[in-house]
């Protein structure tokens, strides 16, 4: 069997295995969310100021909330299988449309954050390890420590204060200037302009993590026997660092990055709030308070599917980076 078909076989097997995992997550989430007091009707009634019990019962019957929990779950599962994620009464829109609308901003933020954090993390870690115990190393280490320890929301606020309010370089919030009605390339430029601050804010924390990890990983690899062999072969230090050590040192960082992509979707709630970024995190946050369970479950479903998919992608990448890992 050649490598490509091996990988295809592996991917399809992993995808099949992902189905029961995602189903289990749905069931678990469903019961967890129903543990909380109150439902969407309570919130709607509360906001209306007054509602008779009869009217509330009527609403519950309309939303299907009067049925026993297991029945509600089965109905939900049946709908999910037919790719129908239900209807958000709060937003008066189908859940799938809501989620897709909000998914792209989150994905944009997530991807740019990961690229920035992993890319610079690897670079800084590498630089720190190469110039171990020098001023460069000290500065990078202290920088990593500070950004690691600073709360995200504070960094976000300070970014706005300094770069938006004082210097006026970047917009304070939102994803694009809606009033300007940009089209085509202008719109891309506008969105990119809005993207800068949230991305930097969110990256800083992860950047610190990857920097520290990369530095430690490089130093560990430097101590291994094959580096002595490489020196004994008369290779240059440049070759040893960039060809021998770097590739081995990347392995744990890639693993870590894979795990964190999933976490980033949830972690962006704070940054999305601070910068009013219209992403999934904000949507989840709002729907939690509105007891909009359909919407919340839909978001969770998407996140879990993403985590499963990203893990699979990382495993495949890993098998290319490390020939010792056999796929199949």
């Amino acid at each position: 069997m050649n490598r490509t078909s091996k990988i295809l076989r592996y991917v399809s097997r992993r995808l099949l295995q992902g189905i029961p995992i995602i189903l289990a997550i749905i069931v678990l989430n469903f019961f967890l969310l129903n543990l909380a007091e109150g439902d969407a009707v309570d919130v709607l009634a509360g906001e209306a100021g007054s509602a008779t019990p009869e009217y509330m019962d009527q609403l519950r019957a309309k939303f299907g909330l009067d049925k026993p929990l297991p029945v509600q779950l089965l109905v939900y599962l049946k709908n999910v299988v037919t790719l129908d994620l239900g209807y958000s009464f709060r937003h008066d829109m189908p859940v799938s449309k809501l989620i897709v609308d909000r998914f792209w901003p989150t994905l944009l933020l997530m991807v740019s954050t990961i690229i920035l954090a992993v890319g610079f993390g690897i670079l800084l870690g590498l630089l720190a390890a190469v110039s171990l115990n020098t001023w460069k190393d000290a500065i990078i280490t202290v920088f990593a420590l500070i950004t690691y320890a600073t709360p995200l929301f504070w960094v976000g606020l300070m970014m706005i204060v300094v770069f938006s309010l004082n210097f006026g370089w970047f917009p304070t919030s939102g994803m694009e200037n809606i009033a300007a009605f940009h089209e085509g390339f202008d719109r891309v430029k506008d969105i990119a302009h809005h993207l800068v601050l949230p991305t930097i804010t969110l990256s800083l924390f992860y950047l610190a993590l990857y920097t520290r990890m990369m530095r430690a990983s490089m130093l560990e690899q430097y101590g291994l026997d094959y580096v002595v062999t490489a020196r004994a072969k008369g290779l240059t230090e440049r070759r040893i660092t960039f060809v021998h050590v770097l590739r081995n040192a990347l392995l744990p960082v890639v693993t870590m990055a894979g795990v964190q992509v999933g976490a980033l979707i949830g972690g962006s709630v704070i940054v999305e709030s601070v910068f009013a970024w219209p992403g999934l995190g904000m949507l989840a946050f709002e729907s939690l308070f509105a007891r909009d369970l359909n919407l919340l479950l839909g978001i969770f479903l998407l996140s879990s599917a993403l985590v499963v998919a990203v893990n699979l992608i990382v495993d495949v990448i890993y098998s290319f980076l490390d020939p010792r890992i056999e796929i199949g």
Binding site: R13, L16, Q17, L224, D225, Y226, V228, T229, A230, R231, A232, K233, G234, L235, T236, R239, V243, H244, R247, N248, L321, D322, P323, R324, G328
Partner: protein
Amino acid sequence: MIKHLLSINNLSILLPEGADRKCAIENVNLTLSAGETLCVVGESGSGKSLTAKAIMGLLPAPHVRVGSGSINFGTEDLVQVSYERLRQIRGSEISMIFQEPMTALNPVMSIGNQIDEIFRYHASMAKLERQGKAIQLLKDVKLPDPKQIMNTFPHELSGGQRQRAMIAMALALSPKILIADEPTTALDVTTQAQILKLIKEMQSTYNSGVLFITHDFGVVADIADRVAVMQEGLIVESGTVNQVLNQPSHPYTKSLIAAVPSLTPRAPRKKSDESVIRVNRLNKVFGGEKSFFGFGKSKRIVNAVQNVSLDLFQGETLGIVGESGSGKSTLARCIIRLMDYDDGDVSINGTNISKMGRAEMRPFRAKMQMVFQDPFASLNPRIKIGNIIAQGPLIQGKSKSEAEERARELLSIVGLDSKAYDRYPHEFSGGQRQRIGIARALALKPEVLVADEPVSALDVSIQAQILKLLDDIRRQMNLSMVFITHDLRVAAQVCDRIVVMRYGKIVEVGTTAEIFGNPTHDYSKELLSAVPGKGWENKNSASLR
């Protein structure tokens, strides 16, 4: 005076402050000529590896550095030359092979690329020419299917093949000097014999000088022209191989050589017919279970132990010998049920223990105890020695004071100070830890002791002491012992009967005298003929009685 390839003059290497001695090596003088093999012998910590690394400029700077002296290579002093010149010399004029070929090769780079690098950084050649040369090298070191090997990664080769690839790499540019730092220590004995032969052949082809570092006097006897013996950073004796091995003058050399176990089996003892442990058609398979959902890959199956039957008689020492992967450790673990097996029976004193549950098994656990190979990994670093030893009796229902008393008594039996009771494992040396491991095993007054390579991690002088201790204890306590080893010299001195294993099967069983004097199976013959230094037999060699 003959012109030497390499001469080391009054070389001292400084250790960082706070180390247990000031200098790793002190005033070392060595010379090496073309076509000559110089063996540097010593125990761990004697500074032999650092001497080799100093020649290549590979000392772990800045903590460990050359203090004084010179290393003259041709007209240059390797201590003084520029970094760039040193880099040029490394790999092209002086090259090095290491002990553990698995870790010494980059795990994520193909063998072909790793060889190619040497040409790229030392010679200007076209890509095709480099490739052709690399394939020729792999052919020279007798690797099968060299073209295929070019694209493989280190983990896909066996230990011996990896070391061959390392040698190919080291010889790529026909260096004047080859430094070999314990190159066969991690290999099986038959592979070791092949690698030693290969090094000899390569040396005569290129007429290079070989600096061979080893702790094994058998290997020295096989390949050395001249020998230097090191002890705690000093060269205590040097001379031709005949002088040093057969007429050692320094007491340390004498004691080292005396500690090498003799290949002549010890005198047979009276044998009992009473079987303590009987193993009947034991089978153990690793892997093979269906993966999740049943439609995945079929897992690799290893038949670790196949249809093994044997008896352990009262009071005897039964040796299980074989190379790595032969299933000897698995068999031992199955016998004392540290591991469940698929098929077969084990009885102790006639009671079948194969199907017993945990609680039922407990009284039988006390009868069979184990001593492990690695004295560092087998003691819990967070538990005091006294508690390590007393734990067993406590679990078996002894009172606290009884267990403590027993532990103290055992410490004195294995020759440790009673102060050891309240100390932690890291405060002890390898040999002392192995004594603790033995005390732990004896705490339950076992009838059977299973020793899994108990001395293979130890220096030869410590090894002799531990073997003597085990033998004394076996005699005093009337123990029956299963002794697993890959070292036939040790087996000859310790065992009454020997089982030879290969690929999970027993290929031959016999008394020690039979196996050593008149082996019948081809594999036993092969093993025996591969023992290093069999031509050299010292009168002072260690014999346990």
